[in-house]
């Protein structure tokens, strides 16, 4: 019910919203929760396990009951807390976990079966038969017990991520946080003040009290205005700091546009990573309930929340209220209710000898039960003289306050128990650079919050080397807290601890009886604290009950581990920008457009995209295109973009010595203008990568790597240069993207080039494996006479800006000579015909010996991997070694990944003789060819063996042959 008052709602700006399809009115400044209460809606959800009716319990992000779903279709957003969801025009919210409706929920039957649903019920009951778990029990339980659901569709809503740096991060903008931020900002520190509310001020906005002679909320607004005017302060409203990480890094989620009807291009949420040299945790405290029979009825709320609804939103949560507590906050709540004109039917104080000056019916005793169907109707009060029933539709409860210390414990720290406040407080130093202040530090009066905020800021300023100054601390209330611990009221029936996961006092006692005495075991057995609210208002009560049940003190029992995030953070926000292309960026070669225009299907090679083949009119299968393109290279000339291969520029007087150390072969002896094939090992003796390296000058080499290994090889070379051989004088620079490089391969390759080069070449100026500078059309280019096809071939490289035009030119010229562009399929067939290896063969477990390149390991020098490659076993004849394969059986196909067995042997793991790594149909030879590894391979050339592909169900017999199928003498490439 809305009441008169001057809270933080704007009565000049009414809003319309709907809940479960019914339209309601509210005001700007309302949360969904305050607006529902203003409309006398008390039943807002059904509980997780028993489907009991539940109402709004708190006024903050700790809310366990009032979870709603907002939005439709793909944008459906479940489990939003009504207590932090700001009302906006047209907001459509729906209740959760009920069927068919909130008011009439069939699964409320679960509540009648509650005697069977205690702790460990699922574990004990659904054990047998085993196969039923996945198919029957789990889906059934998941449907019955739960929260809101995602749509299952891809959501196009925008999220964002951002980074910030500051001297001081202040977490929370209540009296302590505001005082800390103001003190630090005035001393010149770069300050970020983050607060999860839409209005800064913390409890000052919820209480009826004065600070510095003015209303608390006005003082807060003044400080915020001062801070906003300062250049060195960033105010972050609606931003919850969610975690503390190493090195002064904090995660925070900002709700950018959850509170506006038409967000436009604004992201819904932004996930921040804030790096702070110092931080102050001023996150306040969370009020805890008291467990008594049926303490979960709609209408039963936290006392501090009742004050917040009265004072900030001018909403009376009921017409007749009972207040129950074990600290002075109960009296404050009764006073605020009276001031708002709400009937206080009873004030119940659990403390011994308590009295009151308020004009209300006073009871020294406990609330021991509640009644009502879908909301509170009456409260039972136990005193020395017996049990009395009082009619009420609102019960405000305070069991005391727990400092919001979660962030301080995120790096594994355990808090200290403070008997003064009957609560845990942060131990200093648990997160380096972070100090707690105010209520988060167990200082509960406003005056002490202000003082601690200023002190914490002064300490941080001193650490930062800034002058702390003398802050002007305003006068504020400094009343005693005066708590007598009360966790649960004894009695029959169920008394709730964890409202979000439906855990009762009985469940915790049962866990203790069944020997789950450790707080971590009790948590997992009962699910206490495992819901999205992570037990914010229930964990301390639960472990107090466990302590009692196991005869230990609370500090002996200890807390469970606090882990980020402090509040649920949507994956969409945390992973913002990392969907689709943000997750896997696309790298395009300079010939990409021309290849796509030619109709080439592009395939992924790491992040690169490369043409698979270039279809010609009339071709209906990729094999037709591939066979034709292989023919271009074997018969005329083919063009292929090879720019994706890694290129590393190596310069310096010791470049040659460096290459001798990283390659198995010698490169210091390579002549300028020549290119050599190099094999690179890992230090464990296995092959890392291969490629050609050209000597462009006395002190200048250009290395090529495979496409996949470009990054790892660069990293490896830098490690060798800096970490192993800093004595060598050279520098490395990756230039992969600076040069566009094209293979020009085939018998007519020189003819094609000589049509384009400013100065024609011949076999003398560019012999096999020669390299050097050329010009075409006045452009400086590099030409390498190297071949990955076994034909007379070149690779020509130009600065990347000329790549597109050169590719188009080369392709046109090749077509005029009876050839054309070829793609990855043809490139693969061409290299298999020649027995050239790729990472299909050098897959990380093969040695130089395995691939028949043991002769390339120089005996004259040390090199990376040399010593380990000589270990016993790495040069055994019996190892699986590279061979060629061709089918001889009825099935004429080979498949990569198939395994090899002796003819006649059973195709089992024990009989495995090797495996197939690369296959292709060779149009040159007219049959399938393959490469593979076979035990004693080279000794078995001519043998017939059995190939079995268990996955694809392909089986054939093959002849073992030399891996070089075509032109074994190599005359075509040299000619």
């Amino acid at each position: 019910m809305r009441i008169d008052g001057t809270g933080l709602i704007d009565r000049a700006r009414p809003l319309r919203f709907s809940f479960d399809g019914h339209a309601f009115d509210g005001y700007h400044g309302d949360t969904l929760a305050s607006a529902l209460l203003a409309n006398d809606i008390r039943l807002v959800g059904r509980s997780f396990k028993y489907h009991r009716p539940r109402g709004i319990m708190t006024a903050g992000s700790e809310e366990p009951n009032a979870l709603v779903t907002v939005g439709q279709g793909a944008a459906q957003d479940p489990n939003l807390r009504a207590t932090t969801l700001e009302l906006h025009d047209g907001l459509e919210a729906r209740s959760q976990n009920r069927w068919p409706s909130l008011d009439w929920d069939l699964l409320a039957l679960n509540d009648l079966a509650a005697p069977f649903f205690g702790a460990g019920f699922y574990y004990k009951t659904f054990m047998w038969p085993r196969a039923f778990w996945e198919k029957l029990y789990e889906p059934m339980i998941r449907r019955a017990a739960g929260l809101g659901a995602l749509s299952g569709q891809a959501n196009a809503d925008r999220h964002e991520k951002a980074f910030a740096h500051c001297d001081l991060l202040v977490i929370g903008a209540g009296p302590a946080g505001l005082m800390a931020a103001l003190t630090a900002a005035r001393a010149g520190a770069d300050v970020i003040l983050a607060d999860e509310d839409s209005v800064m001020g913390g409890r000052l906005n919820a209480e009826n009290e004065e600070v510095g002679g003015q209303a608390g909320r006005d003082w807060a607004a003044d400080v915020v205005a001062k801070l906003r005017a300062m250049d060195n302060v960033r105010l972050m409203r609606r931003t919850t700091v969610s975690g503390a990480y190493d090195g002064g890094t904090y995660g925070a989620v900002e709700r950018v546009a959850l509170h506006v009807s038409h967000p436009g291009p604004a992201p819904r949420e932004c996930f921040w990573r804030i790096t702070a040299r110092r931080a102050i945790l001023a996150a306040g405290a969370l009020e805890r309930p008291v467990a008594f029979r049926d303490n979960d009825r709609p209408g039963i709320m936290m006392a501090g929340a009742v004050r917040a609804y009265l004072n900030r939103w001018n909403v009376a949560p009921g017409r007749s209220a009972v207040v129950f507590g074990n600290n002075d906050g109960a009296h404050r709540t009764a006073a605020d209710l009276l001031a708002a004109g709400v009937n206080v039917a009873a004030l119940v104080d659990a403390r011994l000898g308590a009295t009151t000056t308020l004009d209300v019916p006073f009871y020294a005793g406990h609330v021991c039960g509640s009644e009502g169907r879908k909301g509170l109707e009456a409260v039972s009060i136990a005193t020395l003289s017996g049990i009395e029933k009082v009619r009420a539709d609102c019960l405000a409860v305070s069991g005391g306050w727990n400092p919001t210390l979660h962030i301080a414990c995120h790096m594994g720290g355990r808090p200290d128990w403070s008997p003064d406040i009957a609560g845990f407080v942060p131990r200093p130093g648990m997160v380096p650079g972070l100090a707690a202040a105010g209520s988060a530090n167990g200082a509960f009066s406003t005056a002490r919050c202000l003082a601690q905020g200023a002190e914490a800021a002064q300490a941080a300023l001193t650490d930062l080397g800034l002058k702390p100054g003398t802050p002007d601390i305003p006068r504020a209330e400094d009343g005693a807290y005066d708590i007598t611990p009360l966790w649960s009221v004894p009695g029959k029936g169920r008394a709730w601890l964890d409202f979000q996961n439906d855990v009762t006092v009985k469940d915790v006692n049962l866990a203790a009886r069944e020997a789950y005495r450790s707080v971590e075991h009790m948590k997992r057995y009962t699910t206490q604290g495992m819901a999205p609210d992570q037990g914010k208002n229930s964990n301390v009560n639960a472990l107090a009950v466990l302590a009692d049940a196991t005869g230990r003190t609370i500090p002996e029992t200890g807390t469970t581990t606090y882990r980020p995030p402090f509040v649920p953070v949507s994956i969409a926000a945390m992973g913002a920008g990392a969907q689709g292309k943000g997750f896997a960026p696309e790298r395009f070669t300079t010939s990409h457009k021309a290849s796509v225009a030619a109709g080439a299907p592009m395939i992924e090679a790491g992040l690169w995209y490369r043409p698979s083949y270039f279809p010609a009119p009339g071709e209906t299968t990729w094999r037709q295109s591939c066979d034709r393109e292989v023919g271009f290279v074997r018969g005329a000339v083919g063009i292929c973009d090879v720019s994706t291969l890694g290129k590393i520029d190596i310069q310096g007087p010791d470049a040659g010595a460096f290459l001798d150390f990283v390659y198995t072969g010698m490169f210091s002896t390579l002549k300028v203008g020549r290119t050599r094939y190099g094999l690179m090992l890992r230090e464990d003796g296995h092959v890392m990568d291969d490629g050609t390296t050209a000597r462009l000058g006395d002190n200048h080499y250009l290395m090529t790597t495979t496409t996949a290994a470009a990054g790892p090889v660069m990293q490896h070379l830098e490690f060798v240069r800096q970490g192993l051989r800093p004595d060598l004088d050279l520098r490395l620079m990756p230039v992969t993207e600076q040069w566009a490089q094209f293979a020009v391969a085939g018998p007519k390759s020189r003819e094609l080039l000589n049509g384009l080069l400013d100065t024609p070449i011949d076999s003398e100026s560019f012999p096999f494996m020669g390299c050097g500078a050329v010009t075409l059309g006045g452009i400086d280019a590099r030409l390498f006479r190297i071949s990955f096809s076994g034909e007379h071939a070149y690779e020509i490289a130009v600065p990347a800006r000329h790549g597109d035009s050169l590719f188009r030119l080369l392709k046109r010229q090749a077509e005029a000579l009876g050839g054309g562009a070829y793609g990855m399929e043809a490139l693969n067939v061409l290299r298999i015909e020649k027995g050239f290896i790729t990472h299909a063969e050098i897959h990380g477990r093969t040695t130089a010996f395995d691939i028949g390149m043991q002769g390339m390991m120089s005996g004259k020098k040390d090199f990376i991997g040399k010593r380990a490659s000589q270990r016993p076993g790495l040069m055994e004849e019996s190892r699986e070694r590279l061979v060629g394969l061709k089918p001889t059986g009825d099935v004429k196909q080979l498949t990569a990944g198939a395994h090899l067995f002796d003819a006649g042997a059973e195709a089992t793991r024990e009989n495995d003789q090797g495996y197939v790594t690369s296959v292709g149909f060779s149009p040159t030879l007219g049959h399938f060819i393959g490469l593979g590894f076979l035990k004693r391979g080279p000794e078995r050339i001519g043998e017939t063996i059995r190939m079995v592909d268990h996955l694809r169900g392909v089986e054939t017999t093959c002849e073992v042959c030399n891996p070089v199928f075509f032109d074994p003498e190599g005359g075509r490439a040299r000619g």
């Binding site: 980074f163 190493d246 090195g247 890094t249 990293q715 800096q722 970490g723 192993l724 800093p726 380990a868």
Partner: protein, 90 residues
């Protein structure tokens, strides 16, 4: 976690790539024997405490760094250039 790169200043962990123990800098002589080589290639300690490890600043200056870190607290005691460590000047 943040690493204070000697070239670039304090940077977020995501700019760096981890390699392993800084033992990798102490490559044995070719004729140091099987035991020394086996230790170098394969054997690493896994301490609960101070460890020296190699990080590569691949999103920054491409320097290899030796980071002295406490595995219990992630506290970083020192960050040195691997080249300086290797040459005995760090």
């Amino acid at each position: 976690m943040r690493i204070d790169c000697p070239c670039c200043g304090a940077r977020d962990i995501r700019e760096f790539t981890y390699k392993g123990d800084a033992l990798a800098l102490d490559r044995p002589d070719p004729d140091a024997g099987d035991a020394a080589w086996s230790d170098y290639v394969h054997n690493r300690d896994n301490p609960a405490g101070i460890t020296r490890e190699l990080w590569y600043h691949d999103m920054g200056c491409t320097a290899w760094l030796v980071v002295t870190r406490d595995t219990r607290s992630h506290e970083i005691a020192a960050v040195d250039l691997a080249s300086a460590v290797k040459e005995g000047v760090a």
